[in-house]
Amino acid sequence: MLQSDKVDTASQRAGKHGGAVASGPLDRVMERLTRLMASHSSRRSFAGRASAWLTLGSLIPVLPVSRASAAPVKPASKPKAPTPFAASAQTTDPTACNYWRYCAIDGFLCAACGGGVHSCPPGTSPSPTSWIGTCFNPADGRSYLVAYRDCCGQDACSQPPCLGTEGDQPSYRPQANNDIIWCFGTGALLYNCSTSVIVGNAS
């Protein structure tokens, strides 16, 4: 069905612009030459018929099938959301729990606590360590590696918490666990809020 649609569209374009749609200089030269010969000869003449064949031959490269294959590759349809969280995630409000990067966040959103998606609130320190999740971005259809880095040094932020659990594994898999206080190396390991920092493309 999609193929037919393409053929129809390409045919209309070829008809509308006539021979002007010839794809190269050689095509255009041949077409003009053929038309010139036809206009100066009998319609029943061999030259006329031969010119018609030549014209047809010169137009072969511009037939719809050829045009379709020569056209830039149309982007494939976006990948489907791989998980339930991704299927309902949004990409505009980082202060809401269903923001796409928060697929596995556990705790308070720094974006709602004076910081940002990848910024700590003033008075806190970013943790140099973290665990890594993988979240699907509905806007571009790609999955990204997201580091959930904690901001530390003040007690818990007062805003409502969020709990994303996609890919969250138990603490015996610390590299994929969102319960650990990831404030190692920040002085007091007091947890304030969580950021989600893109650290790579996982697609």
């Binding site: 791989p82 998980t83 339930p84 969280f85 299927a87 556990d106 040094g153 003040q154 007690d155 818990a156 932020c157 007062s158 918490p161 709990l163 659990t165 996609e166 890919g167 969250d168 594994q169 138990p170 603490s171 015996y172 898999r173 610390p174 994929a176 666990n177 319960d179 650990i180 206080i181 404030c183 002085g187 007091a188 390991l189 007091l190 947890y191």
Partner: protein, 397 residues
């Protein structure tokens, strides 16, 4: 008004007042006179099977966590102790003491870090020793990050400072007798008087046998896929014999006899026990079915072998979602016995270990619900006992 008139009026007012006073005194004279008092402190009776410890994380100001002591028969708060910053608590199996693992800093949110293991007298709730630990794991409280041997002589403290290890604390000498490195593993599931098992990142177990200041570690082969269907940390251990039922995210139960030579038996399915299909795991994340979930999501009544699991309807990766039902299952027959609906979804379930067991749940407001575990009937509730009730401990666990 002349001066004489003013004098007469004042005299009348005073006389009326005196008369009223004398009448009042006569009325009070019949009541006993309140005696002078001395300040004192309540001393609790010895521990009973229905006196439980309830952990409150106080997640929005976790420096102020606490442990409540509750009389579940009366639905009464008996007292509380401090349990600072992602603390943990474990109780001596004989009820002689309980221990809180906690962390403080010398200047509140800064300064020198101090990891502590105070031991509490269960009748006075006073500290009998205040052991300083080399470190402990700071993680949202998981019961099995702190455990105790059957005889109550060893407390096992899981630590991540700086690597995965378990500090063994002698509760008699109040000293750390040794630190056992368990690289790639975490948590402690106690067995016997001198051993525990940890879960490892490869889907196997590490078994630690203690002998004085020495330890021997053995490993099982991996028996579950930690990426596609890991087992919950809050899987119950039957203290008398160390049998543990590891429950996976999808609902598979792995009966495991813990020892230096741990044996893992064939798994069975919670959903099949209820006459349903086995639930898919990470390979089919959109399939909605009944699944185990919550925080402290399971409890075992040792004598009857009845397993209580919080269940909800959801997709895969909803393993921390509060349960809307409790499924009561028989671990011998692998049959579902009861489905107990919860009007208020709970992330925590616990049971006492006596012959007339009570069961406990909570809700988002921190209310503590007390159930008859045999009939499945709600008996009473303690509204807003705390803020974030993570788990409850009954004597003998």
């Amino acid at each position: 008004m002349s001066f004489l008139q003013v004098f007469r009026l004042a005299t009348a007012v005073c006389a009326t007042g005196l008369l009223a006073g004398s009448v009042s005194e006569r009325a009070l004279a019949s009541d006993p006179v309140l005696q002078e008092e001395e300040s004192d402190v309540v001393r609790l009776a010895p521990v009973t099977p229905h006196r439980v410890l309830v952990h409150d994380e106080a997640g929005q100001h976790a420096k102020d966590g606490r442990v409540y002591v509750v009389d579940a028969d009366a639905g009464k708060l008996l007292g509380m102790v401090q349990a600072a910053y992602n603390a943990n608590v474990v109780q001596d199996p004989a009820g002689k003491a309980f221990y809180v693992a906690e962390t403080v800093w010398s200047r509140g949110n800064r300064g020198d870090r101090l990891d502590l293991l105070p031991a509490y007298d269960p009748q006075t709730l006073t500290i009998t020793s205040d052991e300083v630990l080399p470190g402990r794991a700071l993680v949202t409280p998981k019961k099995n990050d702190l455990s105790i041997s059957n005889d109550g002589k060893h407390v096992y403290v899981f630590s991540m400072v700086p690597t995965s290890a378990v500090h063994v604390v002698d509760t008699v000498s109040h000293k750390v007798t040794q630190t056992v490195d368990i690289p790639g593993c975490a948590l402690t599931y106690p067995w016997g008087n001198a051993g525990f098992t940890s879960i490892c990142a490869d889907g196997g177990l590490a078994n630690v046998s203690l002998d004085g200041t020495r330890a021997t570690v053995t490993h099982t082969a991996p028996f579950f896929d930690p990426e596609k269907d890991p087992v919950f940390e809050h899987s119950p251990t039957r203290r008398p014999d160390g049998k543990t039922w590891f429950i996976s995210y999808s609902g598979l139960v792995y009966p495991t006899a813990l020892s230096a030579d741990t044996k893992i038996e064939t798994n069975w399915s919670l959903q099949e026990a209820a006459g349903m299909k086995r639930a898919p795991a990470a390979e089919s994340p959109f399939v909605v079915t009944w699944r185990p979930g919550g925080w402290h999501l399971s409890a075992l009544h040792y004598a009857s072998g009845h397993l209580f699991v919080l269940m909800h309807q959801g997709t895969y990766w909803t393993h921390k979602q509060a349960g809307t039902e409790i499924w009561e299952l028989d671990v011998k027959t692998h049959k579902l016995l009861h489905r107990i609906p919860l009007q208020h979804p709970s992330t925590m379930v616990a049971v006492t270990q006596d012959a007339s067991p009570l069961m406990f749940t909570t809700d988002r407001s921190g209310t503590f619900y007390i159930w008859d575990a045999t009939s499945g009937k709600l008996l009473r509730q303690m509204p807003h006992l705390g803020e974030d009730l993570y788990f409850a401990l009954a004597p003998g666990e």
